[in-house]
Chain length 705, copies 2
């Protein structure tokens, strides 16, 4: 855990008052800037030292083989891993012949501040080189929310007490050497091998202040281009020159600064990628984006950024009295959730946003279950686009279902482009609930926004194909009860159980929503082959779905038989053996009563209408005590239901857990990127938990148009 | 499937009347010779053409990494694969300058015969070289059941119609090039890479008629030695010379044969291996074995072999009137079961014996559940030794249980030396029943033989440590019922279910047997820490163990909830989609009613005392119809219970399936080795099924000595 006295509590920013190299990687995640299309980790301008260098473009990945010592039918053959694209943020400095590197010399002060309203990361420090000369550096960095392809930096260096020769190198660097990943040494060593030097050079360019590099990934065949323009201002005699090679394009500025004099460089960077477009087209694309942004200029970009954020905060701010730390945390959370989704624009919103390479940059169910509900009320346009991305992957989901057996669509557990990338099926393929999570997000979005075009063009198909999955996966028993057997719910410490309540209540909602949608759009539904018999079967399955309940205990069963299992030996589990999955095998976890995360509790959050107040209280009391804190997806749901059943102090604790997940690095992996869903959960815990907000309105019936 | 008109039906041998190169690999398995220590596949003397060259030594394997795209705690890191050791059976021939290769020239006739009473493989053929000269070749091969390290060949070539120059090369060849394995291309490509050229040369020798090679495996560090002696007889002018290099030691014999003249070579081969012994010690070991066998001589080896088999058949033959094919098949089966176990001597008996490299040469639960029961009544000494091998692996099983969580011992699902080698835990680690299968085999062996020394030295510990596993894995519910949750039974189309009846009845037997054994040996039990409280807890758990029964259907449930699952769509499954595991994902198979193999039916076979006649009939009727024939382990159990409940014609069909599994290549993988358990099942189907034999006697109480 970061003990972070360095982070100052302030209402509208996160300020770090000193640099701690031991937690540099965590701070790079916390200070990451993104617009959902481009992600720049909070790496120091000069590139080194670093925890994990990271520049990401949403949708840019490399393929890698997924190895199996014992393969099963349907196991995906190929995985996808987000890659570190060309680094456009580098600005190196030579001070009287010595490289500015904070591991040497003396650092007098160092501050970084992420400003939630300005949408920039500011940095300032004063450093004395080993030679004894001192400089003061200020930089401001943004990734534009208004110009999707654009990021920019203003960098200024000042001589403090003596004349100094400085050489500033503003660079674009491809194929940066990455540190060895920490993690399980049993993982396939080829992963790292494949992902070294993934970018194959296609073009490099440097002239005057303009730099450009174009590369292509070897297996996935994606073309990535980056270009930069510069405005340099310095004392007389300041001069600049540009040069390039396949993996490096560089502007070199030399200057002699008298005491108090400064050299300032404004660098505007344009990123682009495509799976289809040609080299000249990509080259033109980034040049055009640069031309537009250069016209706007650095000051203009700053203004646009603030305007966009003013608008966001005016709609979306959550004000909290009496707890300044949580006040800061919820704004930090909302800022990062916005960054993750704002301009993703028909690409996935990954679990880590674009703040790190954790989980290979994959998107999971938590996007629809945690992130989109928050964006639905704060940045709804992003939700429509995120769901249109899911819709665009329907062909892959239909094909996956065909491969697996059931009808309808089976969306991937983890993916970048829509293909299933999970290599452990009991906790992925079997977790069919992701399909209902997607359907629920679509239903909620349509209901909140009345976006009829979306409903008709994408929502209906999402609902129909997922409803078909449920109808086909399940079956009616002799008594007519509808069962979904052998599935995995949200709790990853159980798997392959019958009638998981969360899955069943979500499937129920999905089946009904699909029938409703088909009635809203009978013409389109008919084109999908939906007829009255099919919708009647959906409604019937929904009406008769099993919800296992243990009468003796007076609680629902997470899945059939769950409450009959042996209780986990919590008393005999020392703190250092958490998270359990790193210290106990699944065979031990699956057969006992222990939940990694809210499962039945999440069911009560999503479908509160189905549970009586007494059931909620009894269920919460039962499941809260067996739910460990091994998943970042748990705290917010626990907070919501704890608040609902009256355990306000406990709810407050859970709120704190969700809110500080990354700021306090509670799961020790913030270095790999932020937990975007947990950040969204901060808002959910506050607004749904303490605020008591529930979304219950169904989409209005509208005439088919 | 082999349609095998080439195999003649005869009571005491398997004779192949012509050579079909398309099914060469299958015939190599069928004609394999072994004594449980050495295994020689039925490769042609001249080495090529071949299906799969194979010479194996029980216990000689190489290590290979097991890759995981998503590793879990407790997944084994390293696998073991049986290796093709130095080939001692090669005898090449040059006929007037042309190599004898049956793919060229003209083959007039070709016969091979596996003689179950003589214990030899005979071969004869007449071949005209492309040059027009014809030779007649006869060879006889044995792997000695009496001299464990010894195999031998008598090879004779005769000029038929003209004078011929022949050059005969008798060889020892290490690191033979193996054909690319057929199979899933998604398997890790490193497997093949690692297992190429696994033998590192340490010594080569050739002088006069004596050849020798010593090698060592790179990762597993096992030293393998092989030596050969020769007796050559031919016309005047026949001469011989020897030479060697690191991977080849060779005796070359040249001769000119007039019409009707022959050249005869008797080759005696000694194999040895050790993980500990030095190069000189190994070199002496094989030389000593050779000295002994040379003293016995070829004729003596033949006599010993026949004596040993006369003894075996006198005790163990099964005579069957009215079905000559099954009569042959059961002797073929008994012969191979004996070969697999006879001289294994404290090594594992692998699923394929030493007839091929299938399943990596691993030993599974079927050794104890199918093979040892047959050997208990036919070659009991081998059973004591096989169980002493299991006992010798107790330290690894205790360590594995410690890693997994429960107390006691957790024996590996698949292994060569006792370390777990399975990379798919739901169908291995969770299949805890293997521990009860081992315990049951020990109990049966002790009961059948009164081997009190074994009982006291090994049986007790096997029973106690497996009983502890069950006591720890299970738990009593509020009503006192003892449950075993989240385990996998024999049926590999289900997994991670609660209260699998087979597992529970076997665990019950195990718990009671351990308590009984502890009472027979109170002093030794006390040393293991067993006290009255512990045995009382075992008996209590056994008495209260859950046996789920569906009252409405009047049948037991394979596992809790099983009969409530959706039925597999058998009508919608075309024949070409069997075996199901190659065409449907586990997620689809596991949640439906379809069994790969006898599970509840096996429970009724092993614990017939627990089921009423009505239950047996109802259960058999229910489960027979949902059991597909995708496992070779199923037919014999189906036959036994079908016979018991009166379906004699069906029982006969299942008997045929077990009996012809390899002779008719019913599962299309006999090329990789024989199904030793299914061969054993032929005996079980006949003796327990049609003969009605049941083993019910408990070990006699004997005074602690």
């Amino acid at each position: 855990m970061i003990t972070h006295p360095a982070y100052a509590v302030a209402p509208w920013s996160l300020r770090e008052r000193e640099l701690d190299l031991d937690v540099l990687a965590q701070s790079e995640s916390v200070f990451a800037l993104s617009n959902g299309h481009i992600g720049w980790r909070g790496n120091l301008d000069e590139g080194e030292p670093h925890g994990l260098p990271g520049s990401y473009l949403n949708g840019v990945f490399e393929l890698r083989p997924l190895p199996y010592a014992e393969a099963g039918y349907g196991d995906p053959e190929s995985g996808q891993t987000i890659i570190n694209v060309t680094n456009g943020k580098l600005i190196r400095l030579l001070v009287d012949g010595e490289p500015l590197d904070l591991r040497y010399g003396r650092l007098h002060c160092h501050e970084r501040e992420l400003d939630f309203r300005a949408g920039v990361l500011r940095r300032s420090f004063e450093w004395t080189a080993p030679s004894g000369r001192t400089v003061r550096v200020r930089s401001t960095r943004l990734v534009s929310l208004t110009q999707r392809a654009i990021a920019a930096i203003a960098y200024e260096v000042e001589a403090v007490d003596a004349e100094i020769r400085v050489v500033l190198q503003s660079e674009l660097v491809a194929n940066e050497q990455l540190p060895e990943p920490e993690g399980d040494p049993r993982s396939d060593p080829r992963v790292a091998a494949v992902l070294d030097s993934v970018l194959q050079p296609e073009q490099d360019f440097a002239r005057d202040g303009r730099l450009r590099l174009v590369h292509r990934t070897a297996r996935s065949g994606l073309r990535v281009a980056v270009a930069a323009d510069h405005r340099v201002s310095g004392p007389a005699g300041t001069s600049a020159s540009a040069e390039s090679s396949p993996d490096l394009s560089r502007l070199t500025v030399t200057s002699v600064l008298g005491p108090g004099q400064s050299l300032r460089v404004e660098k505007i960077v344009a990123h682009g990628w495509s799976a289809l477009r040609s080299l000249p087209a990509m080259h033109d694309q980034v040049d055009a984006a640069l031309a537009d942004a250069s016209e706007t200029g650095w000051a203009g970009l700053l203004l646009e950024q603030r305007d966009r954020l003013d608008e966001f905060w005016a709609q979306s701010d959550v004000e909290l009295e009496g707890d300044a730390e949580i006040q800061q945390a919820v704004r930090f959370a909302l800022f990062h959730v916005l960054q993750a989704g704002a301009r993703a624009e028909e690409r996935a919103i990954p679990a880590k946003g674009l703040t790190g390479s954790g989980y290979d940059g994959h998107c999971f169910w938590d996007t629809e279950a945690y992130v989109l509900p928050v964006l639905t009320y704060t940045a709804p346009r992003a939700v429509g686009q995120a769901l249109r991305w899911r819709h665009s992957t329907l062909p892959a989901a239909l094909e996956r279902a065909r491969q697996l057996g059931p009808a309808g669509a089976a969306f991937p557990w983890r993916t970048i482009d829509g293909q299933e990338c999970s290599a452990y099926w009991p906790a992925s393929t079997a977790a069919f609930h992701i399909n209902a999570d997607i359907a629920f997000a679509a239903q909620r979005y349509t209901s909140a926004t009345d976006d009829r075009e979306f409903d008709r063009e994408a929502g209906l198909e999402l609902l129909v194909h997922t409803a078909r999955l449920w109808a086909s996966l399940g079956h009616h028993d002799r008594h007519g009860v509808f069962h979904l057997d052998g599935v995995t719910g949200p709790d990853e410490y159980s798997a392959l159980a019958d009638d998981n309540v969360y899955t069943n209540v979500m499937a129920q909602q999905n089946l009904r929503a699909a029938a409703d949608a088909a009635e809203r759009h009978p013409d389109r539904a008919a084109l999908l082959g939906v007829d009255d018999g099919e919708t009647a079967a959906w409604r019937d399955a929904a009406a008769r779905i099993a919800l296992p309940f243990n009468e003796a205990l007076g609680v629902h069963e997470q899945s059939t038989g769950f409450t009959g299992h042996q209780l986990w030996d919590f008393a005999g589990t020392p703190p250092e053996r958490y998270p359990l999955l790193l210290h106990y095998p699944y065979v031990e976890l699956y057969r006992k009563q222990v939940s990694k995360q809210a499962d039945l509790v999440l069911a009560m959050q999503q479908r509160g209408d189905l549970f009586t107040a007494e059931q909620k209280a009894a269920n919460f009391a039962y499941y809260e005590r067996i739910t460990v804190r091994d998943s970042s997806l748990s705290a917010c749901s626990q907070a919501v239901i704890a608040a609902e059943v009256g355990h306000l102090s406990l709810a407050y604790d859970y709120l704190g857990e969700a809110a500080l997940m990354d700021l306090a690095d509670l799961e020790h992996n913030t270095r790999d990127g932020l937990h975007i869903a947990s950040l969204a959960g901060t808002w959910i815990a506050l607004v749904a938990g303490f605020g008591g907000m529930r979304h219950s309105r169904s989409p209005r019936a509208c005439p088919s148009s």
